[in-house]
C-alpha cells in the first residue's frame, strides 16, 4: 500500500480504494474542515463562535480540529473566539456523557457550558458555567419524548436543541454556531426529513448553513467528512468519544430503518452518501412566502397553500370521508377548515411536519408547552 499523496508507506484505506499514510490523512481531514469553512466566506476574523458538542465521535473530532486550528501560529491560524456548549439530555447516560465531555475540554484548556435540555421550556436560560440543574425534578422533556412515536422523537429533540443553541448564542452574542454533523449523518437526515414531510426545509436542515434565524447562523463544517474518516481519525489520534453511537435513536424508528438502509446501500454503491448530499445542495423550496411567516417551532418559512391540490388536502379529505356519513356532495367542497385535528395550526403557525408532530402529542398540556415559543 502506497500513500497516494506522499508515495510513502500507506497505513489505511478509505472508500475501498484510496490509500493514505497517517500524516497525509490527518492533513487531508484538516484541509476539508478548513476548506469547508473558508469557501463559504461566512466567518469574519475573530468571530465569536458557539461550538456545540453532543459527545459522540464527530463532536470529539470537531473539538480536536478546533484545537489544532487555534494552536497554529502562522497565517493559517483559525481566527475564532470559541465558546463550547453541551446539552445534557435527560436519559440515563446523560450525566456520564457530560462528565466525559468536561474532561475532554479540560485537556484542551477550553471552558464549556452545560445546559439541561429542559431549559427549552424557559424563556431565559441561566448561563452559568458548569452548573447542572437539580435532576430530581421530573423532566418535562423526557415526558414529551416518551409520549410521541419514536420516529419523530429524534426530530423533536433536534429542534429543541437547535432552539437552545440559538438562545445561548444570542445571550453570548455569538453570530455563528458550529455543529458536528458528518456526511453520513446528513444523508440519513435528508431521507428521514423527506419521510416526515420536511422536504421544503432541506436547504436549511442539510445544507452547510442554516439561515433561518436572522442574526445567528448554524454552520456544519464537517459535512464533507464521512463516518469512516472520523473513525480513522479517532484511532490515529487515540481519542475516545464520550458515547459510541453516532446519532443514536430510541428503538425502531424511521431513522433507524433509514440509517441501516443507507449503510447497506453504501456497501454496494459507494457513491450513495455523497450523491445524496450533493442532491441536497441542489434542492430549494417552492414557497414564495412574501409575508415571511415562520413556523413557531422550527422557524422555517411556512408553506403557502399555493398548489391546487397537495397531500395535505388529500389527507384531510380522507379523514373527513372516513368519519361522517356524507351523502350529499356539498360537504365535499368545505374541507379546508382552519383548525382541524389532523393538522393543527397548519399554514398559520406551524409547518406541515411540526403540525403533524404536535397532533401526535397525546397530552394537550404538552402540546401547549411545546408551542410556547409562540409568544416571543
Amino acid at each position: 500500500m502506497i500513500c497516494r499523496k506522499c508515495s510513502g508507506p500507506g497505513s489505511l484505506i478509505i472508500r475501498k480504494e484510496y490509500c493514505y499514510c497517517n500524516d497525509c490523512f490527518i492533513t487531508n481531514i484538516n484541509h476539508k474542515f478548513r476548506a469547508c469553512i473558508g469557501k463559504n466566506k461566512i466567518l469574519s476574523p475573530n468571530e465569536k463562535v458557539l461550538i456545540c458538542l453532543s459527545g459522540d465521535a464527530s463532536s470529539t473530532v470537531l473539538l480536536d480540529l478546533i484545537h489544532v486550528g487555534l494552536s497554529l501560529n502562522n497565517h493559517k491560524k483559525l481566527r475564532v473566539i470559541p465558546y463550547f456548549l453541551h446539552i445534557i439530555e435527560r436519559d440515563s447516560e446523560g450525566e456520564e456523557i457530560s462528565k466525559v465531555i468536561v474532561e475532554q475540554c479540560k485537556n484542551y484548556n477550553f471552558n464549556i457550558t452545560l445546559v439541561n435540555i429542559d431549559e427549552y421550556f424557559n424563556k431565559n436560560i441561566l448561563c452559568n458555567d458548569n452548573t447542572m440543574k437539580n435532576h430530581y425534578q421530573p423532566s418535562i422533556s423526557k415526558n414529551v419524548l416518551l409520549n410521541i412515536p419514536t420516529s419523530i422523537s429524534e426530530d423533536v429533540l433536534t429542534k429543541m436543541k437547535q432552539n437552545i443553541f440559538i438562545k445561548i448564542a444570542k445571550q453570548l452574542k455569538c453570530r455563528i454556531i458550529f455543529t458536528a454533523e458528518t456526511t453520513t449523518l446528513l444523508a440519513t437526515r435528508l431521507l428521514s426529513n423527506i419521510a416526515i414531510g420536511r422536504g421544503s426545509q432541506v436547504e436549511n436542515d442539510i445544507g452547510f448553513a442554516d439561515k433561518r434565524e436572522e442574526n445567528v447562523k448554524i454552520l456544519r463544517p464537517m459535512r464533507d467528512i464521512t463516518n469512516e474518516e472520523i473513525d480513522h481519525y479517532l484511532r490515529i489520534k487515540e481519542l475516545n468519544p464520550a458515547t459510541d453511537i453516532l446519532g443514536k435513536g430510541y428503538g425502531t424508528s424511521l431513522q433507524s430503518v433509514i440509517r441501516n438502509f443507507v449503510l447497506d446501500l453504501q456497501e454496494n454503491y459507494p457513491a450513495t452518501v455523497s450523491t445524496i448530499c450533493k442532491t441536497a445542495d441542489k434542492i430549494g423550496s417552492v414557497t414564495d412566502n412574501v409575508n415571511k411567516k415562520k413556523c413557531i417551532i422550527c422557524q422555517s418559512n411556512l408553506d403557502c397553500n399555493q398548489l391546487n391540490l397537495t397531500a395535505v388536502d388529500a389527507t384531510m379529505f380522507s379523514r373527513k370521508v372516513s368519519s361522517k356519513v356524507i351523502n350529499s356532495n356539498e360537504n365535499l367542497k368545505h374541507i379546508e377548515e382552519g383548525n382541524n385535528l389532523m393538522f393543527p395550526f397548519i399554514y398559520e403557525k406551524l409547518c406541515y411536519c411540526c403540525s403533524r408532530n404536535i397532533s401526535q402529542l397525546n397530552d394537550p398540556m404538552l402540546q401547549t408547552l411545546v408551542c410556547r415559543n409562540d409568544d416571543k
Partner: protein, 473 residues
C-alpha cells in the same frame, strides 16, 4: 368483538383503512375510496367534459382498478368522458402475454375499446431479445423508455386528450426516494406532479396519486375485480427494488410516511442556479427529447450496433462511445486499406502512382508474411510468390462481377460511387467485432481487384453507405 363502522352507518366494520386507520364497513369503504379519487380528479382539474381519455392498461391491479373506478365515476358524476383502453406488449413471455388476456377481459367487462401496440412492431425488438443482448441489468431502463414512447404513439393514434395511468401513492413515494438516492434532480422536480406533459405532447395524469397500494388491493379484492398479479420476471434486479424495500419497511413503522414523502416532493424545488436540461425535439424521430437525439433512438442504436451500454449512464458518454466505435471501424478500415495497398505494392511496385509492370518481383523472401503488417514502404517486398493475382481462379461470382465492372489493367478511378467493400480475413478484422453486416465499411483502394481473395462475403457492389443510421450528436 365486532367494531362498528366509523361513519356511523350502523353496520359492522369489515376492514381497517391503511391510510387513516379508521375501521369501515365494505360499502363505506368503497364509497370513501371512490370519492377520494373523485376529489383528486376535480380538485386537480384533470379532465374536462367531453374529453377522450386513454387508460393505460397492463392488466395489473392498478390499471384494472383505475379503469373500473373511472367508469363508475364517469357515470355517477357525469364527467362526460370517452374512455378507452391502451395496452403495450413488451414481448416478455410468461408475463405480458398472460396479462394481455386480462386486459382483453377488462375490455369486455367495462365495454371499452382496446388498442394493443407491441415493441416488436414499433422498434423491432421484444424485451426478451433485448435482455438476451444486454444481460440482466438495466432492463427497466429499456422497457420504461420504450413503453413511454409507445404510449405516446398509441395515444396519438387514438387521438385522445390525455392518458390516465395507474400510478399509486406508493409508486410516487418510491420514485421520490429513488431520485434522491440517484441524484436525479430533473426527475425529482417532475415526479410528484399529478399531470405531466408539455407543449406538443399528450399529458399523462395520475388519478390514483393519493391512493395507497394496500387499499387498491383491498378494493380489487372486495369488488372481485379480475386482474393479473405476477411480478415482471426482470424486476428483481432493478434499482427501484431498493427504494421499494425501504418504503415497505417505513410503512410498517409509520403508515403516514407515504403521504409525507409525497408532500415533501411537492414542496421541493430545484434551486435556480442549478442547470436543468431544456426540452427540444429529437432530430431523428421528432419526439420530445431533452437531448439532441432522444433516449429511445439512442437505446435502439445501441441494440442494433451491439453496443448495449450505449444508452446507459451519462448521455455525454454515449457520444464518446459512438465516436470510439466509428473510430474503430475507421481504423480497421484504414488498416485494411493499408494492407491492401501494401499487398498491391508487393505485387506491383508503384512509383509515382504508376503501376510498375516490370518483373521486379524479387524472390528474396521465401516466407509469406501472413499477418500483413509490414511497415516497409518499398515495393516488391518479397511477396512475389503469393498467387493473389487476378488471373488466379476466382470462384466467387460477386468477384467476377466486380472484375467485369472494374477491369484489370487500368486502375479503377477513385470516385465514391465505385467503391467496393472488402472484408479481409486477417487479424485486423477482429477489431471490427460486432458489425452486423459488412456493408458498414468500404475500402478506398485503387486496385482492389488484384487483392480480391477468395472471400465469401465481399459486398457486391457500391454500397455507398458509410454507416448504417448515420448519427450525429
Amino acid at each position: 368483538m365486532p367494531v362498528p363502522c366509523r361513519t356511523g352507518c350502523g353496520k359492522n366494520a369489515m376492514l381497517k383503512r391503511p391510510k387513516t386507520g379508521d375501521a369501515l364497513c365494505k360499502e363505506c369503504f368503497f364509497w370513501a375510496f371512490e370519492t377520494e379519487i373523485h376529489f383528486t380528479i376535480t380538485k386537480g382539474e384533470l379532465f374536462k367534459k367531453g374529453d377522450s381519455v386513454a387508460v393505460a392498461a397492463s392488466g395489473g391491479k392498478d390499471s384494472t382498478v383505475l379503469a373500473h373506478v373511472l367508469k363508475t365515476l364517469n357515470e355517477r358524476y357525469n364527467y362526460g368522458l370517452n374512455l378507452m383502453l391502451l395496452s403495450i406488449d413488451e414481448g416478455i413471455t410468461g408475463y405480458r402475454d398472460d396479462s394481455l388476456e386480462t386486459v382483453k377481459q377488462n375490455r369486455d367487462d367495462y365495454e371499452m375499446a382496446l388498442k394493443i401496440l407491441s415493441y416488436k412492431e414499433l422498434y423491432g425488438w421484444t424485451m426478451d431479445e433485448i435482455v438476451a443482448q444486454i444481460g440482466r441489468k438495466n432492463n427497466c431502463t429499456f422497457c420504461g423508455v420504450f413503453r413511454r414512447q409507445a404510449l405516446d404513439r398509441g395515444a396519438a393514434m387514438l387521438n385522445v386528450k390525455c392518458i390516465a395511468t395507474g400510478h399509486n401513492a406508493d409508486d410516487i413515494a418510491e420514485t421520490v426516494l429513488m431520485n434522491v438516492l440517484r441524484g436525479d434532480i430533473a426527475r425529482l422536480k417532475r415526479c410528484t406532479a399529478i399531470s405531466t406533459g408539455s407543449e406538443g405532447t399528450i399529458p399523462r395524469v395520475k388519478p390514483l396519486k393519493y391512493t395507497y397500494e394496500k387499499e387498491i388491493v383491498m378494493y380489487a379484492h372486495y369488488k372481485k375485480l379480475v386482474y393479473f398479479s405476477t411480478e415482471c420476471v426482470f424486476a428483481p434486479n432493478a434499482y427501484r427494488g431498493h427504494a421499494r424495500a425501504l418504503l415497505k419497511d417505513m410503512e410498517k413503522i409509520r403508515p403516514t410516511c407515504i403521504m409525507d414523502i409525497i408532500y415533501s416532493g411537492e414542496t421541493m424545488e430545484v434551486k435556480e442556479a442549478v442547470s436543468l436540461p431544456s426540452q427540444r425535439v429529437c432530430i431523428r424521430c421528432n419526439f420530445v427529447s431533452s437531448q439532441e437525439v432522444c433516449k429511445a433512438c439512442v437505446l435502439l442504436e445501441g441494440l442494433n450496433k451491439g453496443l448495449p451500454k450505449l444508452g446507459i449512464g451519462k448521455s455525454s458518454k454515449a457520444k464518446r462511445m459512438l465516436e470510439e466505435y466509428n473510430a474503430k471501424q475507421h481504423k480497421s478500415l484504414e488498416e485494411a486499406i493499408k494492407d491492401i495497398n501494401e499487398e498491391y505494392e508487393k505485387n506491383n511496385c508503384i512509383s509515382k502512382g504508376k503501376v510498375c509492370r516490370s518483373s521486379c518481383k524479387s524472390k528474396q523472401t521465401a516466407q509469406i508474411n501472413k499477418t500483413h503488417k509490414t511497415t516497409s514502404e518499398t515495393c516488391c517486398n518479397g511477396q512475389s510468390d503469393e498467387k493473389l493475382n487476378t488471373d488466379n481462379d476466382i470462384t466467387n461470382s460477386k468477384v467476377k462481377v466486380l472484375l467485369k465492372e472494374y477491369g484489370l489493367s487500368e486502375p479503377a478511378q477513385d470516385d465514391s460511387s465505385n467503391l467496393i467493400a472488402v472484408k479481409i480475413d486477417h487479424s485486423n478484422t477482429e477489431k471490427v467485432g460486432n458489425a452486423t453486416n459488412d456493408d458498414d465499411f468500404e475500402v478506398d483502394s485503387h486496385n482492389t481487384d488484384e487483392q480480391i481473395v477468395d472471400e465469401d462475403d465481399t459486398c457486391g457492389g457500391a454500397c455507398g453507405k458509410i454507416d448504417s443510421l448515420h448519427i450525429s450528436f
